[in-house]
Symmetry: D2
Subunit: 498 residues, 4 copies
C-alpha cells in the first residue's frame, strides 16, 4: 500500500457502486462521458503528490513510517493549518483553478474526531485513530455526507408532524456487529467518485432525536447506498472554443441510505444527542475555512478574466473600470487575509488545531455575502457580449467567421478570437453563473448558518464589551486595578491560542 | 391589409432572410427547433389583439380608419403612456410572463420621430409619417438596431486609431436613390423573427463622425443583412419536468450590414451629427420605461416561486423569510410605482409624450442595481436543492423515483413533484440565472448609461438646489419675493407637463 | 373665530401648559430662548395662509362657510391627497426647508376617524365630526401622541411581568363625564408649542389589553399633562456664521399623563381592543406619506449644499463626484416619485382617501434605508473641513481671519467665507448629523415597522403571485379562461382605487 | 532626560506656542477648560509607561542604553509591527477607549525615514537617525502635518491658475542655515498639545512642484507657527450624567506656517519631487494600519453599548436584534483580523518593516466603507430615545425625576438611570455621531485614497491573474513547467516577506 497513483485511484472507483445520472444507471464512473471529468478533477490530488515541486506540500514524510497525504496529518498549531491551507490553494491552482476535493472533506472526519476526544469516549477515540490509520495506509479519498433532506424545515427530526421519520438520517437498528441506518443526504459533492463517506448529523439535536445522533464512515459501495448524481455542464460542447487544457468540475449526489449496515468499528457517534452539535460545529469551523480557501483560486481567475476583458475593450484605464477592479482586488485580498488569519488565530479543540471559529465564519460570510456584488461588477465589465456572443461554430463557419473577426475585435491588438475566448471562459468555466452564486451561498452552510455561528461564538466577547460599556457609562464602578484587568481581558479576545 | 393573425405574422417571416445559428444557416425561422419558440413568443402579440378581453388595450380603433396596433399610436399625454405601459405588462403576463417584443421597439422609431420634429426637417417628418402609416397598415413587427460593436471603446467612431472605420455603422455611399451602409449591430433582440429593423446611432457624435450619424428603417430581408443569432436555452429538455403551457423566450442577433442599400424614403438621419444625441436620448427614455415594464412580469413570477418554495419548506412564517419576502415586495412595488410615475410625469418632446427622463432612468436604475440582491435572496430561499435537484428523468426512473418521492417532499402537503417543479421553473424559466442578471444590467443600457442620463437631465435641478443652498447659507441674499419665486421654481421640478 | 394670524397662534400657546426643558420649568414657550425658535417654525403655517401666492394651497374656501386650513379637509381622492402633499412640501420649502408641523399630525386624527367609520359606531362618528368642526372653526394646531414608553419591549402592555402596568397609556377610571388616563408618551414632536394632542395606541392589542385601547383628543394644557421637552441645538451660537434668515427647528416631548381627565365628547376609542390596529395602521399609512413629503425639502437643501461644496473645491466635473451626485439625485427623485405615486394609487378606508399602503411604506422605507448612504456620500464630498473648520469667531479675530481668508479659499471665485458658510450650514442646519440619521430611522416608525406593514399589506399579492407560479410550473392546471382571469387579477394589483 | 512623567509632559507644553480656539488666544493649553481634556488624553501615553502591567509593551529596554518609548523602535519584522499594534490598542482601551495619540504620528517620521533610505541620501539618513535619537532621549510627543489646504483641488500645487502659490506648503527661501517655508496644513490632530511637528507633502508631485517637495521636523513653538484649533464637544455639560472616569478626546488644528525657519538638520526632503510619493505612500501604509488599530477600541465600546441597550429593552433575544448584533461582531472581528494580518504579511521598505500595503489599505477601507451601516444598526437598536432622552438635569429635578424613573425603566432589572446613562454615553462619547462618521471617512485619507492605493499596489497581481486567464482561455499556450511556475508565482502573492 502507501501513496496511490492517479491510475490506482481511478481503479479503486470501479467497485460496484450504485450511481444514477439523469435517469440512467452509470456503469463505470471513470469512463462515463460526464463523470469522468469529475474523476480526473479528483485524481489531480494524487497527481500533485507525484510532482517534485509540490511533494513537500502534499505529502507528510516524517521518516517514522510510510509517507501519507497531508490531509491526514493531525494539525497541532497555526503553522499546520496554514500549510494545509496552502496545500488546498496550490492544488486548486494547479488543477486549473478547481479544487480536487478528493480529501478536503477530512473536515467532517475531524469534526467527529474532536467530538470523540471532547467526550473522552475511549471506544470512539480508538476507532477514530484506527480509521485515520486506514485512510493513510490506503491513501483513500472521501466525501462528507452532512445535509439531510429535512422535510418540513420548521420541525425537528423526530417531530411526529413530519410526514415520516426518515427526513433526517437515523439509526433504525442496532445489533452486536453494528448499526443499520436509513435516510438521505443531499448535495454531497464528490460522493459518486470518491472512496469513503463520512456521515454525520447536520444540526443540534434534542433528547427526542437521539436516534438521529449518528456519525460513521462507510465505503461508498456499501450495500444499500444509492446515489443520484446531478448532471452538470462543465464539459465543453462543440459550440465552445476548444482548449488544450482538460475540463475540470465536480458534481454532487443525493445519497439514499436504504437500510445500510455499518460495523461498530466505523461508528463514531451513536445516540449521544448532546454531542451532535460539537461534531457539527467543529466540522463547520474547518469546512468554512476550506471553502474560503478553494474559492480564492476561482476568484483569482475571475479577476484575471475581468482585467483581460477591460484591456481588450480599451477601457482598462477608465476611472469607473479602475474603481470596479479595485473592489474586486479588495474583495479577493480580504478573503485571503481572513482565511489565513483564521489559521494563525487557531484554537485547540479535542487536541486538534481548529481555525478560529469567528474568523473562519467571518471569512466565509464575507466571501458569500459580497460575492453577488462581484458578479455584478464582472457582468458590468463584460458588456452584453458575454450573453450574446457567437459560438465557436459560428466562428468556424466560413460564411460568418470573417465577419466575426472583422467586427468583434477590440483594441488594436485584441483579436476577436482572443476576446471571444475570454468571454467563453467566463461563460463556461466553473466561475461565473448562478450555479456558482448558489454554491457560494449554500456550499458549506447558508449565510444564516454563518451568522448564527458568529453570534454564538461571540457571546462571551459581547458580554465583556457590555461590561466595559457599563463601566464607561458610570453604571458599574470599578477600581483602577479592576479596570486594568478588563483591559487585559479585552486584549486576550479573538487571538485563539497564543 | 389591416391587423394580421398570428399565422399571417409567421408567414411574413418566410421572406428569404439570412440567419445563422450556432454555425448553421437557418432555412425557416418559423420551423427551426429553437427559433420557433421565439417566433411563437412574438406571435403572442398578434394573438392578444384577437382576444375580446384585451382588444381595447391592444388595438386602437378610432372609427376614422382601420384599427391598428396601439404600439403605433402617437402618445400625447400621460394617459396614453400609461395605456401603453399597461398593454406591455398585460401582454407579458398573458404570454406566460415573457414580453412578446414584437413591437416594443417602436421606441427606436419614436426616437427618430422626435428627432425629425425637433429638427423641423420637413423631408424627415414626411418620411416618418409615411413609414408609421406603412407600419400600421401592414401590422408589422420591428426590432431596433442600436448598439454598435465599437472596437476600442476608448476611441470615437472615426478615430484613426480604431483598427478599421466600421466598428460603428456608417454611410459608405450616397446616391440619388438612397444610401449604402456598412457596419454591425450587436445584441439585437428579435431581429431574426421580426419584419423590420430601425437602425440608429448608439452615442453622441462629433463633426468628424458625421458619416456615422445615420438612422433608417429597412426590412430584415434586405440584401446584405446577415444575422448571427445566438443559441438559447429556453426550450425544455427531456430532463425538465414537462409542461402543458408552451415554452417562451427570445434570442438576439449580431447583425452584419454588408453594404446594405437604403432608399431615401426610409432614411431619417443622414449626416446631421448634432442630432444623433437627440435620437439616442429620446429612444433611451422610452426604452428604459419599456424595460422596467416588462421586467415587472418576470419579477412577479419570481416572487410567486419564492413564496411557494418557502411554503413547501415549511418556513413561510420564519422571521428571516418574512424579512426577505418583504424585500422582494418592496423591490417589485417600487419598480411598479416608478414605472407608472414616469408616465404620469411625462414631458413633451417633438410633439410626442415621453416618460419623465429622470424617473424613467431611475426606474431602470433601481431595477438593475438592486436586482442582484434579489437574486441572492431568492437563491438563499431555495436552498442548495435548486442546484443539485434530480432531473425529471431521475424521477421517472422506477429505481430512483420512489426514493425521490419519499425524501424530497417538504411540508405535510408538499409533494416532491410539486417542489421539484417549482425549482425546475426557477432553474429553467427565463427568470433566474446569470443570463437574466446580465440582461438586467445591459439590456436598455448599462448602469453607467442610466447614471449619466440621470446626471445630465438633473443639471438644472442641481443648479436650483445650489441657489437655494447659497441663500440659506447667507452667501446670496434675496428679497422675500425672490425667495417665494425660488419656492415656486422648486415646486415645478420633476413633474413634467402638468 | 376663523383663520388665525401667526400672532394669534402664538397668543394661544400662553395657556398655562406645563413644560420642562433641561431641568427647568418654562414660563412661556413663545419667549423661551430655545423654544421660541420652534414656536416660530410652527407659526409659519399660519403665515403661509396669509400669502396670496399660496392661499389656494393652504386654505379651503368652498364658499359654503368660513375658509379653513386644508389640513382639515377630508380627502376624497388622489387629487386631494396630492394637493395636501404639495401643501406640506411647499410649506417646508417656504419655511427654509423645515416643515411647520403645526397640523401635519392631523394624520393621527384621521387614523381615529377611519376607525370610527370602519366600526360604524355612531357616537364616535358624531364626536369625530364635531371635533373636526372645532378644529376648523378655531384654526387649531395639534400634535399626535402615539408612542408609549413600553418598558420591556418583549412584553405586551398588560403582561404582569412588566414592572408596572403604566408602560402603555391606559384608562384607569371611567365615569359619567368621561375617562381618566395614565401613562406616558415619548418623542412627541411639537407638543410643547401646539394646541391639541391626539392620543392613540401605538400597537395591536389583545383582549387582555382592553384598557389600553383608548384614543382621544385633549388640549395640551389639561390638568395632569406634564411635558419634558428635550433641549435642541438648532439656534445659532456666536461661533456660527450669522444669517439674515431666521433659525428653524422642532423639538419633542416626553409627555406624562398624570391621571388626566378626558370628557366623553373627546373620546374616540375606549376599550375596543380589536380596533386599535385599524387606528394605528391608518395613521401609519398617512403619516409615512407625510414623512416622505417633508423630508424631500431637507434633502433638496442637502443636494444643493453638496453641489456647492463640489463647485467651490473645483471638483464638480470629476468622475467620482458626478457619480456621487447622481446617486443623490436618484435618491431624491425616487422618494419624490414614490411619495406622489402613493397619492395617485390611493385606497378608500372608512370613506376617506388614504395613500396606497404599500407604496407609502415603500417610500418611507426607501427614504430611511438608503439615507445613511447619502450621508456617507455627502461627508465624502465635504472633506474633513466640515469637521475641522474654524469658527465664525476665528474668522472675525483679526489675528487669524486673514490667514483663514488666504488659506481656506477654494476654486478661483470661491472665497473662504462662502466655503465656510456652506459647511456651517451643513454642520448646523437641521440636515446632516446623527440626529437626522436617527430621526430618519425612527420618525414615523422604525424600518422594521415599515417592513412589517409592507409584508402584511402584500399578503394577497403574494398569494396571487404564488398561484401564478404554480400554474406556470405545471402544479395547478387552469383553462385558458382561468388564466386570462389570473392576468386580469394581476393587472388590478397595487393601483388602489381606479 | 529619559522617560518623562505625565506631569513633565504637560510642563513641556508651556512653551509659548501660539494657539487660538474659537476666536480666542489660548494662554496655556494645559489649563484651558477644553484643551486640558485633550492634554490629559495624550498624557495617558506617558502614564501607561509607568504601569507595571504594561511597561514591557510601552517601553523598549534592551539593556544597551536608556529605555525609550516603543513608538521610537525601528520595526524589523511582523512581530515588531504586531507589538506596536498591541501597544496602540491597549493604550486606547486603558485610556477609556480613546487613543492617546501622543506618538502614533511617528508614522509620518517613518515615511520620511523610508524615503531617506530608499534615496540612499547620506545627509538625510544621518539627520533621520539623529532626530530619532533626539525623540528617544527627550521622550517627545509629535504630530504629523500632512494635508495641505489645496485651494482648487483640480489643480496641482504650482499651477498658475491657483489663486496663489501657497495652497500647498512650500519652500520660499533657502540659506546656509536652513530653509524658510510658507503654507498651511489642515486637520492636524494633536498639534496644539504635542511637542513636535513632522511636516511632509500630501501627494505625488511633478518637476514644476519641486518647491513643494519638502519634509522636515520642527518644534510646535517655532516662530511663525500659528494654530487655529477647532472647538470640540467631548467635555461633559451639566445636562450629561456625571461620571467618575475622566473625559477624553482630541482636537485638531489648522496650522499656519507664516514663513517658518527650519534648520538643515531637521530637513528630510528638499526639492526631490520624485520622492514625495515614496514618503506619502509609506506614511499612508503605516498610518492606515494605525487608524484601523485605534478604531477597534471605539468599536468595542459601541458593541458593548448596543448590547446593553438591547438587554435593557428586553429584546436581546429577538431574531432581528441578534442578526444585527452579528453584523456588528462580524465587522469588528474582520477589522481586527485584517489589521493583524497586515502586520504578519509585512514588507520591507528602506530597511523598515511596513504593514502589507494592500492589506493595510483593505483594513482601513473595510472599516470606513461599512461603518455607516454599523451606525445605522446601532441607531436602529437604540430607538428614538437616544435622540429625545431627558437630560441629567431633568432627572435631578424633583418635579420630573420621579416620572422619568417610573416611565423610562426597561426590562425588569433595568432602571431608568442605567438606561439613560448608556444612551448618554452613546450620545456624548467620542463614538457615535457624524463627527465620527466624518472622521472614519476622512481620517487617514478618504475612501478614494485607499482605493487608489489598493489598485496601484495590486497592478502586478492583476497582471499575473490576467496571464493565468489567458492561459486557461487558450489564448496563451504554456508548457506544463511554465504552468507550474505560474502556480508558484500565484502562491507568492500577498504574503509580504516570508
Amino acid at each position: 500500500m502507501g501513496l496511490k497513483t492517479p491510475e490506482e485511484f481511478k481503479e479503486s472507483l470501479r467497485d460496484g457502486r450504485v450511481v444514477y445520472l439523469d435517469g440512467e444507471k452509470v456503469d463505470d464512473v471513470t469512463t462515463h462521458p460526464r463523470l469522468k471529468i469529475a474523476v480526473e478533477t479528483a485524481a489531480a490530488d494524487y497527481a500533485m503528490a507525484e510532482m517534485p515541486e509540490f511533494r513537500d506540500l502534499a505529502v507528510v514524510d516524517d521518516g517514522t513510517g510510510e509517507p501519507y497525504s497531508r490531509y491526514f496529518y493531525w494539525p497541532r498549531n497555526g503553522e499546520d493549518l496554514l500549510k494545509q491551507h496552502e496545500l488546498m490553494l496550490v492544488a486548486s491552482r494547479l488543477n486549473y483553478m478547481t479544487t480536487p476535493f478528493a480529501r478536503e472533506m477530512i473536515d467532517s472526519f475531524n469534526g467527529c474526531a474532536v467530538t470523540a476526544y471532547t467526550m473522552g469516549n475511549k471506544d470512539y477515540i480508538e476507532r477514530i485513530e484506527a480509521y485515520l490509520d486506514y485512510l493513510k495506509k490506503n491513501d483513500l479519498s472521501l466525501a462528507g455526507a452532512i445535509t439531510d433532506v429535512k422535510g418540513d424545515r420548521s420541525l425537528r427530526p423526530a417531530d411526529p408532524k413530519q410526514k415520516h421519520q426518515d427526513y433526517y438520517l437515523r439509526i433504525i437498528d442496532r445489533n452486536k456487529d453494528g448499526i443499520v441506518v436509513r435516510g438521505a443526504k443531499a448535495h454531497i459533492t464528490g460522493a459518486a467518485y470518491l472512496n469513503e463517506l463520512i456521515v454525520m448529523p447536520c444540526r443540534r439535536l434534542t433528547e427526542a432525536d437521539a436516534d438521529y445522533a449518528v456519525a460513521f464512515a462507510t465505503p461508498v459501495n456499501a450495500k444499500g447506498i444509492i446515489q443520484i448524481a446531478h448532471p452538470f455542464d462543465f464539459q465543453r460542447s462543440a459550440s465552445d472554443f476548444p482548449l488544450d487544457i482538460p475540463a475540470r468540475g465536480h458534481t454532487d449526489s443525493l445519497i439514499i441510505f436504504d437500510d445500510v449496515f455499518v460495523p461498530w468499528e466505523r461508528v463514531f457517534l451513536c445516540g449521544e444527542w448532546q454531542h451532535a452539535a460539537t461534531a457539527v460545529y467543529n466540522f463547520a469551523y474547518l469546512h468554512r475555512h476550506t471553502a474560503s480557501t478553494y474559492h480564492i483560486a476561482w476568484f483569482e481567475l475571475l479577476v484575471g478574466l475581468a482585467a483581460t476583458v477591460a484591456e481588450y475593450n480599451g477601457v482598462a484605464g477608465a476611472a469607473n473600470i479602475r474603481e470596479q477592479m479595485t473592489e474586486l482586488i479588495f474583495y479577493l485580498n480580504t478573503v485571503k487575509s481572513l482565511a489565513r488569519a483564521s489559521c494563525i488565530d487557531y484554537v485547540m479543540h479535542g487536541g486538534r488545531a481548529i481555525p478560529n471559529p469567528i474568523t473562519a465564519n467571518a471569512a466565509k460570510y464575507f466571501y458569500a455575502t459580497y460575492y453577488h456584488n462581484c458578479t455584478k461588477i464582472i457582468e458590468d465589465f463584460c458588456g452584453g457580449l458575454i450573453y450574446t456572443m457567437p459560438t465557436y461554430r459560428d466562428w468556424q463557419n466560413s460564411d460568418t467567421g470573417g465577419f466575426i473577426d472583422r467586427y468583434l475585435g477590440g483594441k488594436a491588438d485584441a483579436e476577436a478570437e482572443a476576446r471571444l475566448r475570454i468571454l467563453n471562459t467566463l461563460k463556461h468555466y466553473p466561475c461565473l453563473g448562478w450555479e456558482i452564486d448558489v454554491l457560494n451561498l449554500h456550499g458549506e452552510g447558508s449565510l444564516m448558518a454563518q451568522r448564527l455561528t458568529i453570534y454564538s461564538e461571540a457571546k462571551e466577547d459581547i458580554a465583556l464589551y457590555s461590561r466595559v460599556a457599563k463601566v464607561l457609562s458610570g453604571i458599574t464602578r470599578v477600581s483602577e486595578k479592576e479596570y486594568t484587568k478588563l483591559v487585559q481581558d479585552l486584549a486576550a479576545l479573538g487571538k485563539g491560542v497564543q
